[in-house]
């Protein structure tokens, strides 16, 4: 245990800023999670692995001499088609089934992806160096890599674009209609099968963007997927489905929590604390709900 973080205000500021910038990325992934959960009623355990795959796309562009920031444009395009492919092969068979079936099936996809990435890219921790330099704040006491600012900016940009797209475009309207009532949407002429495929594709594309940004700002590793899934799940259950400001806020909150856990407990307990937080949140939610149920009785 190390409480230095509270004795030096600059470290607190540093942790908060880092956490918020990280949290914006989490919120972007969680937005994809909320989208597919709301529309198709599936929980995708492979979410985190899609993120890591997006990261590897950016990393490969970096290896071949292209600036990894272009991965932000390339990764979502590739990932969109991959997402549609996964939908056609697996997800469309589990959409109407029990939620546990979808969890287990996507768990299988997650293991598959994890291992294929391990074969293709090796088990090393890699990062795509963007050479963006750093910004110093508060008399050089707080260090902010520009790549983190860049990634937060791009995430917000993508989120805003997606919200506008969902509001204005025909497909966006169809997706929202399907989320509200799939059967009614079908009756009114919406091709729900196409909508589902597009939703999953958009989710995968969002993961691709987030992954490319993560490979620039942090590091990626084939086995690092599951924590991202758990984080986005946590953000979605805290914020609720279809509550975008809530997703953004709880994403940032989670980011700050993680940075503080990192300082106080030590890096080796960072992932563990995320998973424990998930358990605590679910238990808290359960007691809150059960009180409500008793009240209703």
């Amino acid at each position: 245990m190390d409480f230095m973080v509270f004795q030096y205000p600059m470290i607190t500021v540093q942790a908060c800023l880092d956490g918020i910038l990280l949290g914006i990325l989490f919120a972007l992934i969680a937005y994809g999670m909320a989208l597919q959960w709301g529309v198709m009623n599936i929980i995708n355990i492979a979410q985190g692995d899609l993120v890591i795959l997006g990261g590897y796309i950016a990393y490969f562009m970096y290896l071949y001499g292209i600036h990894p920031a272009w991965g932000v444009i390339v990764a979502p395009v590739i990932m969109y088609f991959l997402g549609v492919l996964i939908y056609k092969l697996v997800i469309n068979k589990v959409v109407d089934r029990d939620l546990f079936i979808s969890i287990l099936a996507t768990f299988g996809i997650s293991i598959l992806f994890m291992q294929l990435m391990n074969f293709a890219f090796g088990a090393d921790v890699v990062l795509a160096n963007s050479d963006y330099g750093t910004t110093m704040l508060f008399n050089n006491n707080v260090v902010l890599p520009n790549s983190k600012l860049f990634s937060a900016f791009i995430s917000i940009l993508f989120a805003i674009c997606l919200v506008i797209y969902m509001k204005k475009s025909k497909l966006g309207r169809a997706i929202r209609a399907t989320a509200q009532n799939a059967r009614a949407a079908k009756i009114l002429g919406v091709d729900t099968e196409k909508v589902y495929a597009a939703t999953f594709g958009i989710n995968a594309a969002l993961c691709g963007v987030a992954g490319a940004l993560i490979s620039i700002t942090f590091t990626i590793h084939p086995y690092m997927g599951l924590p991202y899934t758990i984080r986005s799940f946590m953000i979605v259950i805290v914020a609720g489905l279809g509550n975008l400001p809530g997703v953004a806020m709880s994403g940032m909150g989670l980011g700050v929590f993680e940075e503080f856990a990192d300082y106080i407990l030590g890096t080796e307990f960072r992932i563990g604390s995320v998973f424990l937080l998930l358990v605590l949140i679910l238990v808290y939610r359960r007691f809150k709900l059960s009180r409500k149920r008793e009240y209703l009785k």
Partner: protein
């Protein structure tokens, strides 16, 4: 029917007792099979019968593994020095110490997870459906990550369990662990079978089919859910303790709290054999283990890819499992009275 059962059970018992001498090369594999069957059968108690699909039984398995090994070492030698580095070279268990330690270790490994399941049960089992599944997944992974940071049980570098003492025979180790796991399996089977013939099982099924209705009928669902989970935890802890000694090395995320492997295996085996049946998990575990060993040997390196594909295929195309399929095909054998007219009408409806 009863006579058939008797023949079947005695056949299996004789085969089980003779197996290590018939197939001396497969003793370790057979012991692992026993452990897998225990895990699948006990997962089935709350996963299949109660409808609470848990990814978190790996928590009890891993706890049992660490507890058994720690007790076995800690009873006679300082634990911290043992785990620091190469303690197994400086401190040597005599045979008496080893077996005493193992016995006490297994008792602790069974009881502590049961108590923990009882303590956390009230909070965790109030969650429904997928929230429960994800929460238990989180529990398992969190336990792995946290135990990987605790120094006294070896942290990231792992924990070597006490090596088997020299009792004069090279075969002794394999035979000891085989019979240990086989008798635990028999114990588990008898316990589970007797549970399944009581009212308790019907209550679990009522919880699975409709929990709110069961509660409205006056069943204290929470009490029974916790008891069901505690039974699972008891046998998972035992299985973990045995597996720790069998493998000889405990790593926090790769052996003990291996949610990616064992945690999914137990779910998969139960589903493959058929959830909610007595024999389903046993058949599923046997087939799965044979299949897995085949893959692990012939497709070395690609085993997880095969595992991922296998999960997807089983879950999508075979969710009812082998027993479910048999039940659909030969309903009379399962004691279901089939009304021919009704069946035809249903087929026509389809």
């Amino acid at each position: 029917m009863n006579k058939n059962n008797l023949i079947l059970y005695s056949g299996i018992l004789i085969f089980g007792l003779a197996a290590p001498f018939l197939f001396p090369a497969f003793k370790v594999q057979l012991s692992i099979l026993c452990v897998l069957i225990i895990l699948a059968t006990t997962w089935n108690i709350q996963g299949g019968e109660m409808g609470y699909n848990s990814f978190g039984n790996i928590l009890f398995y891993g706890l049992g593994m660490y507890l058994c090994a720690s007790v076995q070492v800690g009873m006679f030698f300082p634990l911290a020095e043992w785990t620091e580095s190469g303690g197994e070279k400086t401190f040597v268990h005599t045979p008496t110490q080893f077996f005493q330690g193992m016995a006490v270790g297994l008792i602790v490994a069974a009881i502590v997870p049961t108590i923990i399941a009882g303590l956390i049960g009230y909070s965790i089992l109030g969650l429904r459906g997928h929230y429960f599944a994800i929460c238990t997944l989180g529990l398992g992974v969190a336990a792995g990550e946290i135990s990987g940071g605790i120094e006294i049980i070896g942290a990231g570098q792992g924990f070597t369990t006490p090596p088997f003492p020299d009792v004069g025979s090279l075969e002794a180790r394999g035979e000891f662990f085989y019979f240990l796991s086989f008798f635990t399996l028999i114990l588990t089977f008898i316990a589970v079978r007797s549970i399944y013939s009581t009212r308790f099982k019907l209550i679990l099924n009522a919880i699975r089919d409709n929990e709110d209705k069961a509660e409205a009928m006056g069943i204290e669902t929470m009490k029974y859910k916790i008891i069901g989970w505690m039974i699972s935890a008891f046998f998972c802890g035992l299985a973990g303790g045995i597996m720790g000694g069998l493998v000889g090395y405990i790593d926090s995320t790769d052996v003990a709290f291996d949610g990616r492997e064992m945690g999914v295996f137990m779910v998969l085996m139960a589903i493959l054999g058929g959830k909610g049946t007595l024999w389903g998990p046993i058949i599923g575990a046997t087939i799965f283990h044979i299949f897995k060993e085949g893959f692990w040997t012939f497709f070395l390196g690609w085993q997880y890819v095969a595992l991922g594909v296998l999960i997807v295929v089983i879950v999508i195309y075979f969710p009812e499992g082998i027993m479910g399929w048999l039940r659909e095909k030969y309903p009379e054998r399962f004691g279901e009275v089939v009304d021919e007219k009704d069946r035809k009408a249903q087929v026509e409806l389809k």
